[in-house]
Every structure is written in structure tokens, then in C-alpha cells.
Symmetry: C2
Subunit: 163 residues, 2 copies
Amino acid sequence: MNHLAAMNCSIARALAEVGERWSLLIVREAIMGSTRFEEFQGRLNIARNILSARLASLVGAGILSRTPTRPAARTYDYRLTRKGEDLFPVVVALLQWGDRWLDEGAGPPVVLLEASTGGPLKAVVTSYDQDVRSIALSDLGIAPGRGADARTLKRLKGSSPPQ
Amino acid sequence: MNHLAAMNCSIARALAEVGERWSLLIVREAIMGSTRFEEFQGRLNIARNILSARLASLVGAGILSRTPTRPAARTYDYRLTRKGEDLFPVVVALLQWGDRWLDEGAGPPVVLLEASTGGPLKAVVTSYDQDVRSIALSDLGIAPGRGADARTLKRLKGSSPPQ
């Protein structure tokens, strides 16, 4: 999508890199701790050829790094780069919008917590204002929400539910 | 993308509605004040058939409302609903990420201002923390940034540059 990348607009440039909908779900999975092709594939239930293409594109954009799991191995670990970690506010903003408008009355499937306190995350976009603390990925905990289904509960087993 | 909408994940559900890359650019244009088909078409330089499809999908999702420009007119105004306005933090998060990682050293094309003060916007995702003020669309001003090209400057003529 060179047309978007060439627009004099940071939103268009951002969407040129992560505007394909699987891309941000792969970033979500990486935030949740997935690193292997098979983990992404199983958890997102995405076609293997599409996942391959999206991973290659995210690596090409410098959003994920790709390194062999062992020297000379043919399997790889995919991890967020600093640029990829910086997508955290985008993912949180989508999560909150989905929680608010698309929960079908069941409540949120997952709840973000501040890891250090276990309290609800103060989810803040990196701000122009120095007073507002910016949340880093390492501050994050995840717990099942009211709308969690069996699969979500199983995956997050051992996480503390929010108060 | 019913597969995404059915996932027990607010991010996947959100991307089922706005994950096509033109969708969030159309929301951006609506935030910038566009209401007519021709305005969206000219400013985004998007194919007419794609724009028609995306507008219909955003109206179907309750993100845009569509009303005749005059009684019985066959032209329409597209405006953000409350649900659509709530996408503001998503758009700002993408903008900030693009500003940080994709400005090609030229600086940001546009700068968001707090309309009431003219100062840089404290761009904050609606927060779990009551102390953090949530920014509404009505708080927004837009000015050219260091990376603005001639077209952006022309469009934003009369806006105050940031201090």
C-alpha cells in the first residue's frame, strides 16, 4: 500500500504497516507472550500461508524480530522490537473500544492489570504531557474479565481476577 | 470477518469492524470535518467503489450515521456517531506511533492541540483511572507540524502552529 505510505499523514503511514487486520492480532499475541509460529497459528486460528506472509511483513517493517530458536535451527522466535512494543497503546485503545461497544452485554473477555499492584491498568497513550505516566509493556498483567469464555479462562488460569 | 467477530477478544471484535485500513482513514477524515462522499473521495484519493463499500460498512456498524443533506435529497452527510467518536483514542494512538516511527526525519505532518488552550494535546486513552482526564473530540485542534507538506499546509491554513 505505497499510496498510504506516501500520504502526508502519520495515521496513513501507520496503517500502511499495520492496517491489515491480522497484523495487530499478531502483535496482540506477541504481547500475550507467543513467540513461535505454531503458537500464533493455534491461538489465532489463522491460515498458515496468511500467517507466514504477515509475519514476514511485520519482520520487514521492523515490528517483529526473527531469530533461530537455537543456533542453526530452522524454527524461529518472533519477538516485538522496540517499534513493535510501541504499538501497545494502539492495541489497548482497540481493546477498550471493543470492550465498550462490542461486548454483547457479557462484559470484557480480559482485563488489563498493572503488574506491580494488581490494580486496573491506567491505560494511557504516550502523552505530550510529562505529568501523565506512560505505561510500558512490562507493567502489564492480564486477567479474565466478566465476559471470558472457557478458552480464555483456561488460557489465563492462574491470573488473578480483578477486584 | 465473522471469525474475528466471534473471537472472545475485544481487539479481534474491534478489528472485525474497523480492521480494513481504509476504515480508520475514513474515520480520520470524519474527525477532520469531512461529511460528503466527494470530500472523503478527494481527500483520501480512494476509488469510488471502495469508498462506497467502506461507508456502507461503517454505517452498518453504527460508526457513521447517514442522513440526506436536505429532505428528499439524494446526497448524504456522513457523521460520526457516539460509537464512531469513541474511536478517537485509536486514531490518536496510530498517529503518535506513526509520528514516532514513520516520520522519515521530517517531523510530524500535523500536531494535535487542545482547542481551549492551543497547547499540545494531552492525548490519553480513556482510562481506568479517574484522575486522568479523557480527551473528547470537541477538545481537539489541529495544526501543521514540522513535517507538513504543501497540501497539508494549505488544508490547515489559518490553524495556529504549535509553540
